[in-house]
Amino acid sequence: MDIVVNMSSGLCLLLGSFLCLSGGIGIIRFPDFYTRMHAVGVTDTLGAGMILIGLMLQNPDSLVIIKLLMILVMTIFISPVASHALAKAAFRNDLVPLSDRNEHKGGTESSNP
């Protein structure tokens, strides 16, 4: 029983780290703001959730689990809303998505339509 818990905790941590890392690579490599936002917004929530679940399995103390659960719930609420607000603000302030631009050379340079 103990070993199952340990294994699953390790698995969750690894998966979470992998997701976070892919988000990190995404924020560096993707060509424009909206694609970067996609990379971060998607992986952030699940990666954070995975790592927190992995931590929860590590500790038998109920107070610690409750605190972790609170962080988890808040991440699930806050992270998508922040992403949503950010994307909306960017769109309203005339930041044009890559696919809509007239000339896209694929680089990260900013274009002024």
Binding site: L13, D44, L86, E109
Partner: protein
């Protein structure tokens, strides 16, 4: 496993800092700050376990809350008229310090 996860988070934080530095538009920087904040929450929770005192998760909770507040604040101010006209960084950001 905890150490591995901590290292991974640190690497991701580095990436966020890089994007914050080069990010051509304003919103890239805000995105980098947002991501950095979430990763800080994770890092602090992980560090609590690594150091063997997981009672200090309060700090991580504060981070999650304050991060939200500061992102909303930044968006609020970037919406104002003085900023809204030009989403791109004015001036050359790469040349200077």
């Amino acid at each position: 496993m905890l150490i591995a996860a901590t290292l991974a988070i640190l690497v991701v934080m580095m990436m966020a800092i890089i994007r914050g530095f080069i990010g051509p538009t304003l919103y890239d920087r805000i995105l980098a700050v947002n991501m950095f904040g979430t990763k800080t929450v994770l890092l602090i929770s992980l560090l609590g376990f690594v150091m063997g005192r997981p009672e200090f998760l309060d700090i991580a909770i504060v981070y999650a809350l304050i991060n939200f507040i500061s992102i909303i604040g930044v968006l609020h101010f970037s919406d104002s008229a003085a900023f809204g006209n030009d989403p791109h960084d004015t001036g050359s950001t790469k040349k200077e310090s």
